[in-house]
């Protein structure tokens, strides 16, 4: 490999850096290029024409464009874990060592077995899959899907996890300018000079847009000098930010935009600590869309033969990259702009084979040029092109008079006119409007604050672009009150406006492609028309026109035009296509940003987390929390052994558990009691200071919402706790009650969940342990601190804590709260002080076992479909006051006798394991929807009963205590007998917790 191998590279010129040669490989073959090349331009420079096979017919394809709209040159970039499919060769910046491979071919690009699909093409027409694979359905999995998957599909995703990282960021500005070509630069200059904060996004690594390909003179300077001058002036403005390699992909409500910055895609591996890509959310008060226009092809037979390229792309490769797509070039155009490619070809020393101009006879200037350079100007159309994977064979021309001609060339530049980029302006369903003079849609109905300028607005003349850009930038800034002097609009004296005669399609027998990426042909459009799929939305879905990753940037309008011809309507009558974000494909990794693996979501840690981790606790994810699930000790063979030990230790001695995850809310104010009366079904205004009470909240529809213990710490201060799961939602609900439902109540709410480290201490020796921690002056006796008492206490060492005599385990228990910074110390102190009593830390699993043993309801029973009565808590509902959910809870169906209510469940065979989810069926009945009588909600192995037990929601359950029923578990294929029993399995009299 050497730089000399670039057979199609011009000896001089272009914007590449010849002092920086680069090596790369494509399909295993080594090539050379230069810094400043794209993969596509380097392939062009090396004479590589065939770059891929098409999606459906596996047709050989070459490079069509020089930009992000490229439908053909999709490649797999990089290897291994960094392999990325469907990247466009036209936007990949070349770097040393780049490895890329073509797609959709097997075993090789030159010899592709599935290109036999071309022979089957009469049956692979539009709607083929719909029609063929409808029936019989069972063949789908076995036959059709594997077949389709092998035949179709684009590139292969990497099979390993992406080693690079991605991130998201926010940016804000007054004026966002989309596109860094002449229009965008003029807009940014004007807005920046006026004093506005400006962000200029440019998709390419350098500013300039089409100026880099077409040159020109602006304010007397050569284009590249003017670009440099503009860039210098913008860089000197403090509040102007130029973002290159950044594609604006979406315009969302109220000035929010999404943009993808390819931070390090131009390097083999991102530098350490830098992301590969960054997804920006840009909030702008005004947006100037200066995204330019895209040249469109003309549909004719064989128009996908490698070597056929858009005329503007040919100019880009010649002028910008000094790479010649052909030695002998022909042009097929319907407008003057296409002729610029002839100029570029001549200047680069190419042979011009001929120009096919679909309009009228050539002008005198054009004839003079043709005779000077010895090429023919033919008034007519390209009827078809013969050729294949080796490129163009011949170009068959149908002349206006009816005669035919043949051109011999290895390259054909095609120009069918230009389409303004209406992608962004139509993302809010603003329908573009048709302009006959340019035969194209231009933006209309853009979102508030957004305007289009320059080529994106249908102004194709350079001086018009500069003027429109300048005035759009100035207007956006002025609109926001920026009054700085914007200076004069830059100007250019480029050629007069281009004339164009619309030409969309040359009818013929050969396959003529409309959508290259999805292999939609002109005859597919005709088929859709015949079968009645004539509306643009039907056309799109029936043929898949415009549904590929390029969203039909180079095909939608031709498809629409052909449908218009076939149905005798105008193009605007036929319809318009509007776009959805993203404008270009965005990797899922970029959308996820930082949020993957251990950063998938933020994590909450309890105050004793590090202490528990030191002890080897096994943690469980509970919402965002990490909670200690159990604390295994050496020699224990499984979780059940650890959990059983923890339960026995609590019930036989003392244990503690971090319950800081409970939501904690300070409810303050003179009307705090009344407020709680309205949100809870039971009464809190009568609760004495220094007392706690279990409370139950309903939703307004009568179903149970949440539960927890609330204590009255002062006349005007309650301390409310919620379940771990609902902490945030209950806070939102209470604020709703305070601000919207009951604004007359003087009450204030603050979440203090993070302020307090809270531990449950349980077991018959709880008081012994507490005496080691709590100041001896505090009376913890049954008289001094009775069941459901709650107050501040002094701890040994002078720390103040809150103590609550509440029990979830059914044991003699307290909950103790200390300021969170002492939570770790409290756990350690309890371990030291409790050593003599065999104190045992226990996790959520043992907590769950003890609550099932006590028949306490939790998440599986508070499932949003249960009433207070279903849970056995119906008597708590006060009849003396209004509360949320009161009226709806009294509805007929919610008080029906056959409701599923909480019962205890035991397998009749004591050795059997009970599983939650099993259905409860009356004995002897056949399981089914009609006989389903409820299900098992929670289970555990009860160390105290020595068997599996559970809770369930069972129809008429309370009347059926003692009944033997059937558990039906189709998921696990189990059927067994169960006994319905009272839900409190352990210490039903409740003596232990009061003792």
């Amino acid at each position: 490999m050497s730089a000399a191998d670039q057979t199609q590279r011009l000896a001089k010129g272009g914007l590449i850096d010849r002092s920086k040669p680069l090596g790369f490989s494509f399909d295993g073959k080594s090539f050379a290029g230069y810094h400043g090349d794209t993969l596509a331009s380097a392939l062009v420079a090396n004479g590589v024409r065939l770059v891929g096979r098409s999606f459906k017919y596996h047709r050989p394809r070459g490079i069509l464009t020089a930009g992000s709209e490229e439908p053909n040159a999709l490649v797999e970039l990089r290897t291994g874990a960094r392999r990325e499919p469907n990247t466009r060769a036209t936007t990949i910046e070349l770097y040393d060592g780049l490895v890329a491979a073509s797609q959709n071919r097997w075993p090789s690009l030159d010899f592709d077995i599935l290109s036999v699909n071309q022979l089957a093409s009469p049956i692979l027409v539009a709607g083929f899959y719909y029609k063929t694979f409808m029936w019989p359905a069972k063949l789908w999995e076995a036959l059709y899907e594997p077949l389709i998957r092998r035949a179709a599909g684009l590139g292969r995703a990497a099979t390993q996890s992406d080693p690079d990282h991605y991130e998201k960021a926010w940016a804000h500005c007054d004026v966002l300018v989309v596109g860094g070509g002449p229009t965008g630069l003029a807009a940014a200059l004007a807005a920046g000079r006026a004093g506005a904060r400006v962000i200029l996004c440019e998709e390419e690594p350098t500013l300039g847009g089409r100026l880099l390909s077409d040159g020109g003179t602006i304010d007397g300077l050569p284009a590249t000098d003017w670009i440099a001058q503009a860039a210098d002036e913008l860089s000197a403005m403090l509040d102007v930010r130029i973002m290159t390699r950044t594609t604006l992909t979406g315009a969302y409500d109220h000035g929010t935009h999404a943009a993808l910055e390819r931070v390090n895609d131009h390097l083999p591996v991102p530098p350490e600590h830098q992301p590969r890509q960054r997804l920006w959310r840009i909030v702008a008060k005004r947006t100037v869309v200066a995204a330019g226009a895209l040249e469109r092809p003309i549909v004719f037979g064989g128009n996908d033969v490698p070597g056929i390229m858009l005329a503007s792309a040919v100019r880009t490769y010649i002028n910008r990259y000094a790479a010649t797509p052909a030695k002998r070039l022909a042009l097929f155009t319907n407008n003057d702009d296409g002729w610029k490619t002839v100029d570029a070809a001549i200047a680069a020393g190419l042979t011009v084979a001929g120009v096919v101009d679909a309009r009228q006879e050539a002008s005198a200037d054009q004839r003079a040029l043709a005779s000077k350079h010895g090429f023919a100007v033919l008034n007519g159309v390209v009827d078809h092109v013969d050729g294949g994977r080796k490129g163009i064979g011949s170009i068959e021309v149908a002349l206006a008079g009816g005669a035919r001609a043949t051109l011999e060339a290895d390259g054909l530049a095609v120009s069918g006119g230009w389409n303004p980029s209406v992608g962004l302006t139509s993302q809010h369903r603003g329908r573009p409007k048709w302009r006959d003079d340019i035969a194209a849609f231009v933006p209309d109905g853009a979102p508030p604050g957004m305007s289009a300028a320059g080529a994106a607005n249908g102004a194709f003349l350079l001086t018009d672009c500069l003027r429109e850009g300048h005035s759009a930038g100035a207007a956006a800034a002025a609109d926001l009150g920026f009054g700085g002097s914007v200076g004069a609009a830059p100007s250019s004296d480029d050629a007069p406006a281009s004339s164009l005669t619309p030409l969309w399609h040359v009818a013929g027998k050969k396959k003529a492609f409309v959508d290259f990426q999805n292999d939609v042909t002109a005859s597919d459009i005709a088929l859709a028309a015949r079968e009645g799929f004539q509306s643009v939305e039907h056309l799109k879905r029936y043929t898949t026109l415009g549904m590929a990753t390029d969203q039909g940037k180079s095909s939608n309008l031709q498809g629409l035009a052909i449908m218009a011809e076939l149905t005798g309507r105008s193009i605007p009558q036929t319809g318009t296509t509007i776009y959805r974000p993203p404008y270009v494909p965005v990797a899922i990794g970029a959308l996820a940003g930082h949020h993957r693996d251990e950063n998938f979501h933020s994590v909450r840690l309890t105050p004793s987390h590090h202490w528990a981790a030191e002890r080897g606790a096994v943690f469980v994810d509970t919402g965002l929390w990490k909670r200690a699930q159990w604390y295994p000790i050496k020699g224990e063979k499984d979780w059940l052994e650890s959990v059983t030990r923890e339960v026995k230790a609590v019930r036989g001695g003392v244990g503690f558990c971090d319950v800081s995850t409970l939501g904690k809310i300070d409810v303050h104010g003179p009307n705090a009691g009344t407020f709680l009366d309205r949100v809870y079904i039971n009464t809190f205004s009568t609760l004495a200071v220094g007392k706690a009470r279990y409370g139950l909240m309903l939703r307004e529809d009568g179903m149970v919402y949440d539960d927890g213990t609330t204590s009255r710490l002062a006349e005007d201060h309650y301390f409310l706790t919620t379940t771990t799961a609902k902490a945030g939602l209950v806070m939102q609900h209470l604020e709703f009650c305070r601000q919207v439902l009951f604004p007359e109540l003087d009450v204030q709410l603050t979440s203090v969940s993070d302020q307090w480290a809270q531990f449950s201490i349980a077991g018959p020796r709880t008081r012994d342990l507490l005496c080691e921690i709590v100041d001896p002056g505090e009376d913890l006796s049954n008289e001094g601190f009775p069941f459901m008492a709650a107050r501040e206490v002094l701890l040994r060492g002078g720390l103040k804590a809150r103590l609550f005599r509440i029990s979830f385990s059914g044991e003699m228990a307290f909950e103790i709260s200390v300021p969170a910074r002492f939570g770790d110390a409290l756990a350690r102190n309890m371990m030291i002080a409790g050593e003599q009593f065999g104190v045992t830390p226990y996790g959520t699993e043992a907590l769950g076992v003890m609550r099932v043993e006590k028949g306490h309801v939790a998440g599986p029973e508070l499932n949003g479909m249960t009433t207070a009565a279903d849970l056995g808590l119906g008597k708590m509902m006060s009849t003396k006051k209004d509360f949320i959910g009161r009226v709806m809870a009294g509805r007929e169906a919610l008080v029906a006798a056959d409701r599923q209510v909480v019962v205890g469940i035991k397998p009749v065979d004591k050795a059997r394991r009970l599983r939650s989810g099993a259905h409860v069926i009356r004995k002897g009945e056949i399981p089914g929807p009609d006989t389903d009588g409820g299900y098992v909600t929670s289970v555990c192995f009860s160390p105290m009963l020595g068997q599996w037990i559970g809770l369930g929601l069972v129809s008429r359950g309370r009347e059926r205590i003692g009944e033997i029923a059937s558990a039906h578990d189709p998921l696990r294929g189990e059927d067994y007998e169960i006994e319905l029993c009272h839900p409190v399995f352990y210490d039903p009299e409740g003596g232990r917790q009061r003792g």
Partner: protein
């Protein structure tokens, strides 16, 4: 009997590693620190009592209670707007809760949040760039000048953010303060470190909040 010892830990103290993080070849363009030893009182005016609360604030702290998103330096405290008719009083550890109780008795509801929040300082010439990765607010000096405050979210978690006086050091860069929920602090700290790694972070020793 062993007398319990009450060693305070902060949510970051077990993972906090002063020194350099991220890119190390150049001077750090970002500094981060945990600030400890503060007291934080949530003050929420009772119904119809914002004016008396504001008056009480002037008397006790020598400054108006911020009525819009601002952080105001007052006598022995920083007053930080935290929502409509509510403020945080941030002061060095001492007896600020008692002081606030006396000041606002009968007109506002108070909650001690000294342990409920972790306080971070973020400064350096890349502070804004780093914060742009986690915070949706516009922190441009024209929009968010010194003394501006906000109640907003980072990683879907509520935070209070304000901008202090510019750094006295040679860079003269903006200094931001972040109050985050303590149980989220470790997770958020890692996110901030990841976000700033490309700029090189100098993690300063955790120091008490000085006001």
């Amino acid at each position: 009997m062993v007398e319990p010892s009450w060693t305070a830990t902060t949510p970051l103290s077990r993972i906090y590693a002063p020194g350099r993080h991220g890119v190390k070849n150049d001077a750090a363009r970002l500094s981060m620190a945990e600030l400890t030893g503060f007291e934080l009182v949530q003050v929420m005016a009772r119904r119809g009592m914002w004016s008396p609360t504001d008056q009480a604030c002037r008397e006790a702290y020598g400054q108006a209670a911020p009525a819009k998103p601002q952080a105001t330096r007052a006598e022995g405290a920083l007053l930080i707007w935290s929502g409509p008719d509510q403020i945080f009083v941030l002061s060095p550890r001492g007896s600020s809760l008692e002081r606030a109780r006396l000041a606002f008795a009968g007109m506002a509801s108070l909650s001690d949040q000294s342990d409920g929040r972790t306080l971070l300082r973020i400064s350096g010439i890349k502070a804004r760039d780093m914060l742009a990765k986690v915070c949706s607010l516009d922190l441009h000096p024209a929009v968010f000048p010194a003394g501006a405050a906000a109640a907003t979210s980072i990683d879907h978690t509520s935070v209070n953010l304000w901008r202090g006086e510019d750094s006295a050091g040679d860079d003269g860069a903006a200094v931001f303060y972040l109050l985050v929920f303590s149980t989220f602090a470790e997770s958020l700290w890692h996110t901030l470190l990841d976000s700033g790694a490309e700029y090189g972070i100098a993690i300063d020793a955790a120091t008490p909040w000085q006001g």
